[in-house]
Subunit: 137 residues, 2 copies
Amino acid sequence: VEDEETVILANARFYEAINLGSLSLMESLWVHDERVKCVHPGWNILEGWEQIKNSWSMIFTHGAPINVEPIGAQAEVQGDIAWVTCLERITHRTMGQVVLGAAQTTNIFERVGDKWLMILHHASPIPVQGLIRERLQ
Amino acid sequence: VEDEETVILANARFYEAINLGSLSLMESLWVHDERVKCVHPGWNILEGWEQIKNSWSMIFTHGAPINVEPIGAQAEVQGDIAWVTCLERITHRTMGQVVLGAAQTTNIFERVGDKWLMILHHASPIPVQGLIRERLQ
């Protein structure tokens, strides 16, 4: 249970990096090698830390969401690997309007020393209805 | 490397179950407990084996795709957990027409005895352009 709580905190930290638009915080949360993978909602997969770092840099420079809030995060830990599923409640600005979006997400973490570092992020667009249903539960 | 090859085979077997529309083969490939999770393209997350089994039963009964082909599968193994990323090339029938779709996928497997069983499946819709780009590489 303790491990799972630490993983949930690492997951929360990832969303903190997004909401702060902080590339340096984001960098500190990932494994930096060729195994890392990232799927932004509706994007093709990005592979290797360089590509992923560039994508965050681009997102933080042009068109970061206003806020991404993880909802219902659940962690599973097995040895030095952990995975978290959560719903992302995404507030963003499009064409001058504030719009609510939702993504279903799988995040995989690897234990490195006393830290859990992200090794895979996969967020996929889902209808906002799912978000409302989740909220009502 | 041997482990990774076994995981790639387990992943291929999952698509075989889809293409055969075989619920019994599909059942034999998953962990059967409350930890398992499944995100079909554009769906909300399903949790626990019962929900997931029911979803496959529904998919196989009504509107299974004609074919789902995994492309570019890559496996990572860490202890008793492995994860595979791949692109799904999905051929399905809509309104009497044969349509090509694509999904970006993360599959997580757990080693149970000498088998790798699926513990998470997450497929997310992506533009078919991504599929064409992948094909040209």
